[in-house]
């Protein structure tokens, strides 16, 4: 029987990873009402960009401690190059259409990007393990954990705090809240909604790429990396409530802990525990834990 310490640590690490992976999705949905399937592609793009750039960086002999900055840079590059192109070039013509139609557009884009990634990086796996091992390890309950995992946790916390501050503390954040609640009215009041959409979409995709990039030192970056992340992120944000940032955090924590507990004590149910939690939450609270109520048309 596993001790409670490792169970909690595993849960926290997984929750942090889930939050980083999923928060961009809920942000984009909350602002633009788009369930962005390319979220998974950006995760993969970030992973590939981060891994290949960091690999090149380390191969050239540059200081390994700066490789974390390179990971960040890779994610930034991936997002800044691709996301605005998608938003300006295609998505903005689709805003008038139905939610589901836009979702399918992003699904089509996802298919295209999958093969685009394959064309650029090939099918061979990339991996860059040094950043993972560089920071040493710590011990909990007799088990060794690489300290790198704390970076993931720290990143998640920083993201959560940062986003909360931006939304509540800055003028741009308040305008964003206005756009979330009523885009038409905001537009009527002179808010440049189009610019908000562009920035939000790019930022949301950047967050996905960040998740991918910072995960890449712990895995082997292969084609298909983004596919499972999509469904996992969907589940987390639905549990928390689409468009709610605290919801995404709570959803990530719940799923992370439940999964950790099931792995340690009940490995047989691990396969569908996340969907069961999702179904259960939806059954009790149809809009997710913190889902915003929507007015009904009369």
């Amino acid at each position: 029987m596993s001790q409670i310490g490792p169970v909690l640590v595993d849960g926290v690490i997984y929750s942090a990873w889930l939050f980083i992976a999923a928060v961009g999705l809920t942000l984009v949905y909350g602002v633009m009402k788009i369930l962005n399937v390319t979220h998974g592609s950006f995760y993969a793009l970030g992973a590939y960009a981060g891994a290949s750039l960091t690999g090149a960086w380390l191969a050239k002999g540059y200081p390994p401690m700066l490789s974390y900055a390179v990971l960040l840079g890779g994610a930034l590059l991936a997002a800044l190059v691709v996301a605005p192109a998608i938003e300006r070039g295609l998505l903005r013509f689709m805003y008038a259409k139905d939610e589901v139609v836009i979702l399918l557009v992003t699904y089509a884009l996802f298919l295209i990007l999958e093969d685009a990634i394959k064309l650029i990086w090939g099918v061979n796996p990339y991996f860059v393990a040094e950043p993972y091992a560089l920071l040493g390890s710590f011990v909990v309950g007799g088990l060794k954990y690489p300290t790198y995992n704390l970076i993931l946790v720290g990143l998640a916390l920083a993201l959560a705090a940062g986003l909360a501050w931006v939304l509540r503390g800055t003028r741009a954040g308040k305008l964003l809240s206005a756009v979330i609640h009523d885009p038409e009215m905001s537009r009527a009041l002179g808010v440049n909604v189009d610019r908000f959409y562009l920035v939000t979409f790019t930022f949301g995709c950047f967050l996905a790429a960040l998740g991918g990039s910072f995960t890449s030192p712990t895995v082997s970056v292969v084609p298909g990396l983004g596919v499972d992340v999509i469904v996992l992120s969907f589940a987390v944000v639905v549990i928390g409530g689409l468009g709610s940032l605290p919801g995404a955090a709570l959803g990530a924590v719940i799923v992370g802990l439940v999964r950790s507990v099931s792995v340690h004590y009940l490995p047989q149910v691990e396969l569908f525990v996340i969907y069961s939690v999702m179904a259960l939450v939806l059954a009790i609270r149809p809009r997710g834990l913190f889902g915003l109520a929507e007015p009904r048309r009369i």
């Binding site: 369930l35 939610e99 399918l104 298919l111 999958e114 685009a116 569908f272 969907y275 048309r297």
Partner: protein
């Protein structure tokens, strides 16, 4: 008002398939049969889409239908195609009847995602089952019709005719359903539920009925696919399978009961062409095709197109 010529059109297409099928190559007969199976699922999906509910979990019933057919084949040696389809329809409808009590409460994206979650739970359950072969699935016995197995050269044709007949019946019944007051509630529900209630109709009931019908059709499609392909596996319940059905639904639009079958055929054609021409980048080709369909085929998006975002 132009008279609705759908029954005549259905009969004409059926005749074309039966007669034309005699001259078509074997591999095309196979593709047409699969198109029938997928078309059945999408026919049901369209009923839900008309009501504003895009289900990302039709694969659940597709898979239930397939595994029912498989179970009959494996446990009882029943290989009759029509029996398998009937059984698949029944078991899927039963499952939908039960699940409908939960799902009829949801709308929009939540309906989609909850249906997805249920389908993935089913997937997980089958994968865990080693008796069912887990992800490898198992094979079905060769199909028979009323106890006869036609000669090898005629099998594909016979299965296609049987499938087309079942499809004809299903499409006709769907068309009739859409003419009833209950069947016409779909777009009304999508537009304004509260007014529908004021009119005296029950939205919950209507959605439940539509859900069961859609599931029944999906179950029939699943059983047909199972026998045609000869093999079933849990991936039939995976969300990507549901995604394919939604893809076809968008391609075809909800304009007519014939649309899903045309959509399925075109989807199959795009898939094969993509495989042939760009085996290393077929996903990209599919994605581009889907985009083109969404952007340039507004007829295909006819009913969704008309919906406005809330102010």
């Amino acid at each position: 008002m132009k008279p609705d010529r759908t029954p005549q059109l259905l009969a004409a297409v059926f005749a074309a398939v039966v007669v034309g099928g005699l001259a078509l190559p074997q591999w095309l007969l196979f593709i047409l049969t699969i198109a029938c199976a997928q078309g059945l699922v999408v026919l049901g999906l369209n009923l839900l889409i008309r009501a504003g509910l895009v289900s990302f979990g039709q694969a659940l019933f597709y898979c239930i239908g397939a595994y029912t057919a498989g179970g009959l084949s494996r446990a009882f040696g029943i290989s009759d195609l029509l029996l398998q389809m009937l059984a698949g329809t029944a078991s899927a409808a039963l499952a939908a009847f039960v699940l409908g009590f939960l799902l009829a409460r949801y709308r929009g994206i939540f309906f989609g995602l909850l249906s997805l979650a249920l389908s993935m739970i089913f997937y997980g359950l089958i994968v865990k089952s080693e008796t069912l072969g887990s992800t490898d699935g198992f094979n079905l016995a060769k199909a028979t019709l009323f106890g006869i197995r036609p000669g090898e050269a005629w099998v594909r044709y016979a299965v296609l005719v049987a499938a087309a007949s079942a499809t004809l019946a299903a499409a006709f019944l769907a068309w009739r359903f859409l003419k009833t007051p209950l069947g016409q509630l779909g777009p009304a529900i999508k537009d304004n539920e509260i007014r529908v209630e004021y009119m005296g109709a029950s939205v919950r009931y209507a959605i439940h009925v539509n859900y069961v019908i859609a599931a029944a059709l999906a179950g029939a499609g699943g059983a047909l696919a199972a026998t045609t392909v000869g093999h079933i596996d849990p991936e039939m319940a995976y969300w990507t399978t549901s995604g394919e059905f939604v893809f076809i639904a968008i391609l075809s639009g909800t304009g007519s009961v014939l649309a899903p079958f045309l959509g399925a055929l075109i989807f199959g054609a795009i898939h094969t062409v993509a495989f042939d021409l760009s085996p290393n980048t077929w996903q990209m080709s599919m994605g581009l095709a889907l985009l083109a369909a969404i952007v340039f085929l507004p007829d295909g998006l006819w009913s969704l197109f008309a919906r406005r975002k809330t102010a």
